[in-house]
C-alpha cells in the first residue's frame, strides 16, 4: 500500500488513539494526546506547503502551541492540583477498550469505502479512515472512563478527529474558522478545568458515576 506523507501522519495520529485508550495513566494519556496533536499539526503544515496557503502555517503553529503544548500542560496541572494520577475506575478494562478501538479502526476503513464520493473532487480514503477512527476512539475514551478529566481527554480526541476530517477532505478550512474552533476548544477545556475544581470541592472526587449521589 502506497501512503503519501500526509496520509502516513494522519494514520500515525489515528494509531495513537487506541494507545490512549489502553492506559489509565493521566499523564501518559495527556502526553500521547500531545503527540497526536503534534502529528496533526505537521500534517497541516504539509497541506499548507502543498496547497500554497500561508495561513495554514499559522493554523499549524497555533495548534502546536495551544493544543499540543498548552492544553496537556493545563490539564496535567489540574490533575496535580486535585491529586488524581490514574483513572483506576473503568467501565471496560483498558486493554479491552484498546482492542475495541482497533476494531473500530477496521470498521472506519469499511465506512470510509462507503462514503459517497464525487469523482471530480479530491478524496483521501486513508485520511477519512484515520479521522473516523479518531472520532470513534474519542467516543470509546469518553464512554469507558469514569473520571471527568479522562472524559475531557476523550472529547479532545474526538475534536482532533473532526479537525483531521476537515484537513484531509477539504484542504483545510479558512483561517478564521480554524481560529474560532481553536478558541472554542481552549475555552471549553478551561471551563471544564474550572468545573473540575468545583466538582472536586463539592463532591471530593471527580468520578462521574457518583455525581448523582446528591439526588433525593
Amino acid at each position: 500500500m502506497n501512503l503519501s506523507l500526509i496520509d502516513s501522519l494522519a494514520m500515525g495520529a489515528a494509531l495513537v488513539g487506541p494507545m490512549m485508550a489502553g492506559s489509565g495513566h493521566l499523564r501518559t494519556n495527556l502526553s500521547l494526546y500531545g503527540v497526536q496533536t503534534a502529528l496533526l499539526a505537521v500534517a497541516s503544515g504539509l497541506v499548507a506547503d502543498s496547497k500554497h496557503e500561508p495561513t495554514m502555517y499559522v493554523v499549524a503553529l497555533a495548534i502546536v502551541v495551544l493544543k499540543a503544548i498548552a492544553i496537556p500542560f493545563f490539564l496535567n496541572w489540574i490533575a496535580g492540583r486535585i491529586a488524581v494520577r490514574t483513572d483506576s475506575t473503568f467501565w471496560l478494562r483498558p486493554p479491552v477498550a484498546m482492542h475495541l478501538c482497533v476494531l473500530f479502526l477496521g470498521f472506519s476503513y469499511v465506512l470510509s469505502q462507503q462514503l459517497p464520493v464525487d469523482a471530480a473532487r479530491h478524496y483521501s480514503q486513508i485520511g477519512a479512515t484515520a479521522a473516523i477512527s479518531l472520532v470513534l476512539s474519542g467516543l470509546v475514551l469518553m464512554l469507558t472512563r469514569r473520571l471527568a478529566i479522562s472524559q475531557i481527554v476523550g472529547f479532545l480526541v474526538t475534536e482532533n478527529g473532526i479537525y483531521l476530517f476537515a484537513l484531509t477532505q477539504t484542504n483545510g478550512m479558512p483561517l478564521f474558522v480554524e481560529m474560532g474552533i481553536l478558541l472554542d476548544v481552549l475555552a471549553g477545556v478551561m471551563i471544564a478545568g474550572l468545573l473540575l475544581f468545583d466538582i472536586k470541592k463539592s463532591f471530593e472526587h471527580i468520578d462521574v458515576e457518583k455525581l448523582a449521589d446528591l439526588k433525593d
Partner: protein, 313 residues
C-alpha cells in the same frame, strides 16, 4: 561454494560467538552508568560464563535427567534458531526457516525451561514457571500476528524470503515499523525484561525468568545464561532487521554496509532497552497484561494494514 559465501558464513559465526556476550555486557555497562557506577568491562559476561564452566555444580538430589537434558535442549534450540532466523543481513541462507517452525521452536525452548524449573522441585521455580506460562500465553498472539502480517504481504512463510533485501524484498516502511514495534514489545516480554520482570531483582517472590534458573549452578547456570544471551541477541537482531527494512526500502545498499548496519542496530536496540530499564519501573504483576496488550495492538495494526492494502482499489 564461492569465497564470498564462505566469508559471509565465517563473519556470521564470529558474530554469533561475540555478539551475545557484547549485548549482555553492553546492557550491564549502560545500566551501571545510569547508577553512577563504572560498570564491568564489555567482555565481562564471557569471563563470568567461563568461570561458571570451571566451577563445581551443586544439584538438588530430587532432580532427574530432565534437569540437565532441558538445559542442553534450550541451548541447542537457541543455536538452531540463530542459524534459521535472519537476524543479521549476512546470515547464510538456510532452507526451512518457516515462521511457524521458528515460533514454536521458541515455544519448545520455553517448555524445556519450564520442565527445568519444575524438575528441581523448588517452589520458587514453580512460581516462576507458572508466571512464564502466563506471559507466553499472552504474548504469543503479538509475535504471531506481526510475523503473519509480514508473511501475508510477502506471500511466503519463509522467514529468509520475508526478510530478503533488494529487488525481491518487501518495501512497506509503515508495515515494517509497526511489525518492528510489535516484535520489540513482544521480545521484552519473551526475554522477561523490564516492564514485566526485573532481570536484576533479588527477591524470589517477584522473579520470573531468574526464579526458574534459581536452582542452576556451575556449568548448568553457564549454559542457561548463554542460551538466554543468544535468545536476546536473536530477538533484538530480528527487531533491528525490521527497522532497517523500514529505512532502507527499495534502495540498493552494498552488503558490507548492510552488515555493519544490522550489527549496529542490534547494539542500539540493546542500548535502548538498557536505558529504558534504567528509567522505567517494573509494572505490577496484575498490570503486566495491560503492557502486553500494547504488543498485541501493534500486531492487530499490522494485520489491519495488510487487509486494507489487499482491498485497495
Amino acid at each position: 561454494m564461492t569465497t564470498e559465501s564462505i566469508a559471509g558464513a565465517m563473519c556470521f559465526l564470529g558474530a554469533l560467538i561475540v555478539m551475545p556476550i557484547v549485548v549482555l555486557g553492553l546492557i550491564r555497562k549502560i545500566k551501571a552508568r545510569f547508577q553512577n557506577r563504572v560498570g564491568p568491562p564489555l567482555l565481562q559476561p564471557f569471563f563470568d560464563i567461563a568461570l561458571l564452566f570451571r566451577k563445581r555444580e551443586t544439584v538438588s538430589d530430587v532432580t532427574s535427567w530432565v534437569f540437565h537434558g532441558s538445559a542442553a535442549l534450550i541451548l541447542a534450540v537457541m543455536l538452531i534458531q540463530a542459524v534459521l532466523i535472519p537476524w543479521l543481513s549476512f546470515k547464510p541462507a538456510v532452507p526451512g526457516a518457516d515462521l511457524i517452525l521458528v515460533l514454536y521452536l521458541f515455544a519448545l525452548s520455553k517448555l524445556a525451561l519450564i520442565f527445568f524449573a519444575f524438575d528441581s522441585a523448588s517452589p520458587f521455580g514453580a512460581f516462576g514457571a507458572s508466571r512464564e506460562v502466563t506471559l507466553s500465553l499472552l504474548v504469543e498472539p503479538a509475535s504471531m500476528l506481526s510475523l503473519a502480517a509480514l508473511a501475508i504481504q510477502s506471500q511466503s512463510t519463509d522467514l529468509s524470503r520475508i526478510f530478503a533485501y533488494g529487488a525481491n524484498g518487501l518495501h512497506e516502511p509503515v508495515l515494517w515499523c509497526i511489525a518492528g514495534m510489535c516484535l520489540l514489545l513482544a521480545s521484552l516480554v519473551e526475554l522477561s525484561r523490564m516492564p514485566v520482570d526485573d532481570p536484576t531483582t533479588h527477591l524470589e517472590l517477584t522473579m520470573v525468568h531468574e526464579a526458574m534458573i534459581l536452582e542452576a549452578s556451575g556449568p548448568t547456570l553457564a549454559v542457561n545464561e548463554l542460551s538466554h544471551a543468544i535468545h536476546m541477541t536473536i530477538l533484538f537482531g530480528l527487531v533491528g532487521q525490521c527497522f532497517i527494512h523500514a529505512v532502507v526500502g527499495a534502495t540498493a545498499i552494498s552488503p558490507p554496509v548492510l552488515a555493519a548496519l544490522s550489527v549496529g542496530c542490534t547494539f542500539i536496540i540493546a542500548a535502548l532497552v538498557a536505558v529504558f530499564e534504567s528509567v522505567a519501573v517494573r509494572v505490577h504483576w496484575r498490570k503486566a497484561p495491560e503492557f502486553i496488550a500494547y504488543a498485541v495492538t501493534f500486531g492487530l495494526f499490522a494485520c489491519l494494514f495488510v487487509i486494507a492494502g489487499s482491498h485497495q482499489p
